[in-house]
Structures are given as C-alpha cells and as structure tokens.
Symmetry: C2
Subunit: 415 residues, 2 copies
Amino acid sequence: MSKASIIGAYNTEFGVFVKKDPATGLMTDTKTYYDLLVEAGRGAITDADVAPEDIDAVYVGSCSPASFLNQEHVAPLAAEIHPSLRFKPMTRTECACASSTVALYDAIYAVEAGRCSNVLVIGVEKMNLLPTPQMTHVLACCSHWPSEGSRGMSFPMLFAEYAKGYQAKHKIGDEDFEKMLFTVGALGYKNGAENPLAHAKKGPVTVEALKALCQPDERGKSKNMMIAKPLRLHDCSLVSDGAAALVVTSTERARKHRKPAAEIAGIGHSVERLPIGVRPNMHELQAGKDAARKAYKEAGITAKDVDFAEVHDCFTINQILSTEALGLSQDGRAGYDYMEGRFTREDKVAVNLSGGLKSKGHPVGATGASMHALVYKQLVGEPIGVKARKADVGVAFNVGGSAVTNCVTVMRRLN
Amino acid sequence: MSKASIIGAYNTEFGVFVKKDPATGLMTDTKTYYDLLVEAGRGAITDADVAPEDIDAVYVGSCSPASFLNQEHVAPLAAEIHPSLRFKPMTRTECACASSTVALYDAIYAVEAGRCSNVLVIGVEKMNLLPTPQMTHVLACCSHWPSEGSRGMSFPMLFAEYAKGYQAKHKIGDEDFEKMLFTVGALGYKNGAENPLAHAKKGPVTVEALKALCQPDERGKSKNMMIAKPLRLHDCSLVSDGAAALVVTSTERARKHRKPAAEIAGIGHSVERLPIGVRPNMHELQAGKDAARKAYKEAGITAKDVDFAEVHDCFTINQILSTEALGLSQDGRAGYDYMEGRFTREDKVAVNLSGGLKSKGHPVGATGASMHALVYKQLVGEPIGVKARKADVGVAFNVGGSAVTNCVTVMRRLN
C-alpha cells in the first residue's frame, strides 16, 4: 500500500469575522462561512500547484454549521471553489472539534485505495454569529446530551473534571497546579504573538501576568475569572471563525510533484465513550494514548523521534494531558516539564509553535485541518510563525469533544 | 485493488417513535436515537455473524441530530454497541439525505485501502421529536440557506421546481402529469404494504384512490392537499424515525465467510452545486446521470443488466427523474413507462420493492444505509417485503438535498 502525502496547505486568518449591526443589534458577517470555505480550498489548491480539474474528491470537516448559521449539507459548497469540481464526490465529516482530521483520514483512505489521485480536505467553522449562551449550547451538543449538555454541563466543566482528576491523581498542590496551567497558557500566547494568522496575537506571555489578571478590579471583576474551577478564562481556547485546507496525494505521486511534500507516516484514530461518567481514568487520555501508540507504530517511530507537535489545547489542562499521551512527558510530569521550560521553541521538542488553540484560535471544524497545515508548513520549511529548530518529524494531535475523538498523525518531510 | 462486499445488514422498523406527554404537550421518546443506533449496529453485526472485536471501524451517517435532539458528535455512540468497540475509529458523515451512503463509501475506501477488515456502517435519524414547522426548518438547512431556506423555500418547493421543469420540457399535459405522479405513489404504497418494517403499511394503492383524496371534504380540506404545486401530500415521503446498518468487508474475505455476500461492484458519487438557481437543466438529474455512468462503468454493466433498484423517491417526481438517470427509462419516458405498468414486481426491472421513501419511510440519515440493506437482502435471497423476480444485480440510488448529492451503487450477488 502506497502511503499518502500532503503537497499543499492553506490557513485563513483566524478571528472574529462578524460585526454588530448598530440598528438591529444583530450580528452580520464580514467574512462568511461560504467565503472562508472557498478561500481555504482555493488557497490549498494554489499552494499545491495542482490543476483544479485534477482534484478527484473533496472532504469538508465542519462541526455545527446548521446550528451556527442554518447551513447543513456543506460539502457541496466546495463546488464553488472552481467550476471543474462540479460532479466530483464531496463528503462532510463531523466529529466535533476533530471534524477535519477525520476528513483528512477519509481522504487518505481514498488515496490509499487508489480511488483518488488528489483529494482536497477543508476544515471550516464560523462561530461568532451567535451570542455566547447560544454558542455554548451549540458546543454542549458535542457532549453526551442526555447526561451532560441537557444538565447544564459545558465544555469548561467537562475538562475541569479532567483537571481535578489529574491534580488529585498526581497529588499536585493548588499553587503548583495553577502555575502549570498558566505556564502552558503563557507559552501559547508567546508563540502565537509571532503567528500572523493567529486570532489572539496579544495575550499575557508570562505566568505573572496571568496571575495578576486574576485579581478582581474595583467592580469585583477579574480579567482571568474562574470559568469552571480550576479552569479560568485564560485556560480556555478562543471562539473563532476560520478555515484551513490541505491537498493530499499518494507519496509516489508526491515524490514526482514539483512542490515539497510531507508524508502521512502514521495515523491513530481512537474513540472514547461519549459520556465522561463512564470513564474510569479521568486523569489521562486513555484513547489519546491508544491513538499515539497506533500512529507511532505505523510510522515506525517512538516519542523520542518527534521534533515538534501541535496539540489540542482546547483547555490548558488538555495540553498537559496531550503532552503525556504523546509520550513527550512521563505521566504526571508534563506540568512540571512545562514549568521547567520544556517544549518551548528552544527545546528538543517544541509544542504548539503556532500558539495553539489558545492563541491561534479554535474555529472547531477547522482546527484539525489547521493543525495539519501548520505541521506540513514546518516540515517543508515554510513555517507560519515560529520556526521549529528541527523539522523532520512533526505530530498533530487533534481531539473532539470531551477527549472522545482522538486523532494522532505523524508526518515526515519527504525528501 | 480488491473490491468490498456487504456481508450483513439490519433495518429497524421505521415509524414515529414518540408520544405526546398529555401533561406537558411535549414529545417524548418511545425509542430514542441512541436506541435506534445501537439496535441497528448490533443487528448488522449479528446478521453478518462476525465477532464485535473484529469490527475495525464504524461510520455513522446522520443528517441533523443536533437540530433534531441536541446531539452532535454521534459517531462515538457506536461504542455503546459492544465494549470491544471502545477505542476503534468512529466517524460521522453528513450529506443530507445521503448521509449514510457516503458513510458506506468511506467504509469501502477504508476496506479497499487495506486499513480495515470489517467496517460497520450505520445510518440513523430521529425526526419526530420536533413539531412540523421546526422539522421543516431543520430540513431546509440542507438547501442553500442564503438563497433558499432563508427565503422560505422548503424541500417540496425545491422539488416542485424539478416537477415543473420536467413537465414543461417534455410538454406533458396536467392530467397526464398528475396521473404519472399518482402512479408512482400508488406503486410505492402497494409494495410497502408487504414490507413488515415500513412506516406506512396502509396507503392508497391506486391512482383513483389518490385522486379521490384530492377532493375537499365538507370543511374544505383535502386529504391529498397541494403542498407545493404540482406536488401534493401523497407525492411527499414520510417524516420517520429509524436506523439501518451494514457490515462491509473485502470481497476476498467475503468469499471465505460463512454468510452470503453482495459485492459493491461499482459506485458513483457526483455532487451538484447547492443552489438550484444556478443549474441549467431543471428537468433531469445531471449529477445523478453522472453518478450512474460512473457506477455502471466501474461495475462493467449497462442499465439493461439491472434487475431491481431502490431509488430516492423523496418526492414522486424524483422517482421519475431517478428512473431516467439510471437509464431504466429514456428521457421524458419514465412517467409514461410507470403508467404502462413498468417497474412493478412483475416487470423485468422492479423499482422500490420496499415501498420506497414514500411508504417504507424516510428517516433522512438512515435512508442510504436502508436502501443498501434492502438491496443486499434481496441479493442474498432474504428479501424484506416483496421479493424480486430476479436478483443478480441490484442498484441503490440515494440523493441528498435538492438532487445535490447523488450516490449510485451497483451490487451483485457473490456466489
């Protein structure tokens, strides 16, 4: 079986692409969902330098476009990218915040099966048309609705359960634990400040600054308020609009192609049961570890071979759990490792050079494609933002829901 | 490349699985979405006689579970089918009413790529928890929202455009056209009456009966009222709850397996642009014809080789258009052919022996898997309902949206 490779990628700017109509108070688009999808798709095709007529299929990963903007059945929108895409197969995948990594995996299968030569993968989401309570409701639908969402459990609350489980398991004092989380958050902001496409380019880049923001102001309000104990506002990723896209082909074809390529050396896709209440180990990503094991095995590597990783810091605690699931830290050690300065751009292994979901932004359905786009761009020597010290092997670890859908991809520069 | 085959299938009963709480007036489940998904998945695994631990991946096709019942991220629910499915890859696909055929296609790719040995495909939808106006809104999200849904265009209105386009193109008189549509509707009810799983087992089985129902009663109400001219109530399919599932493996493995199998001999997946306003030919399924051409080519057959077909009669007009797209009738002739008694169980080619979406029911995300389950069951000699006279080659033609996603599958009994 010939493996698949990425030969082109594009990431739109991430941000808030709506404005409030002063007359009606309603949100209107400054860049629509439709615009974002087409911009990303065209961008990736251009970057890959393939003719649009040579794209054999399109996979679109998107989480909740019907809930956010009344548009279901979004895959056919890819026909607007270029007239020659009309009549091609177009499929939407949805696995919460991992929607576009599973789109990529299906594209890989289509290539590996010999069904397609070149496949376009797009991840897209537009979240900011809705006010916060409705947006929170839409995301809560990605939890197990009967036992979680319908009972008022939001995603910060679900990941707070992991935070509490992790802290208890490893007997971490409150002060240390807060410092760990802030260290991770500050690192994201620091890296994101150099990412020209990031949603939050200016964030508090030190633990001290994040701590200072916890103090209530004269009205009793804190700029780093508690959202779901122990998670504060700056432990949460951003609500963003954006899209990203990739062009996938066979490694055999990629080798002959005029553009640099990165091989999908290994993938691991492991799915946990949906309700957190049934999971025995709320201090680790069991399915995430399984996904990493599968991906490393297929790629023939160990954690020691990883040069850099983009991991799913929907909440700071998940960056810590993901770092352990990837085997970059020992269990119970990741928080301390971050505090000791590991995983920065200077380290042997860098994590979230893009700024991560915390700073780069988190348009949920776009995130998986974006992570892969960023890893690809590092591997081919065209980093978006901070450059990796060494970029032979990169990993993307995208998570959907409350650590339910776990996707680990190992990519390798193709020489 | 080894082809893929179906080795097991299951179809739940289709119907309305809710009841109104007399106290609150709210709808409550008599069989939940979660129940339906698990019942279908377990049923297909049992029918295929494979061990649950030998299922390597699950694809779940579902259209709008977040809108219907606040549950997005539904693929992981498949972990509830059996403990050994925990940590397996699970992916949801959505392409409106073709959501579970694209799930099947992705499963086929995974098998053909050698990534998986056995894949479980589930289609599921629960539509009846919402009152009609909200349900109509949810479905309208599958149209092009900015130009259609947001302007009050419902799906009956969109297919009425095809009906008017077809009637005008082929210069069919009103009386003949009405009779064509009623003939198709009556045939669906007649076949569905013998399908033990059908939603509407008792419907008007003659053109005369459908015509009689058009007469207004003493209150001016007609039981076959006009919904979107020229489409009446009995030209529309049903709003159903239900699920269906399939087990897919390689043909090589299927040949050695102890259960009868049907090979996926050819697939065609062609996607039209989303807004109907941009399509030049509103009298034919251009992308549907393209899908049929691809599927026949891959299977090495022509329309003459087809013994029976399940086609997507979301509206009676679409059964006529689909019959032509599959080449079973010449362009402009399908309506006349149906009126002349073609495509019944006695004919050389039978269409919708199950009763079709009109009588069997149309739980949108389940429909594709259901069509394939029915064709498979015919091919292996275990028909659900009316038996095909000859069942060597069967076709499923599943459509998503306003004839946007077009999926044609040719299946062949594996001896």
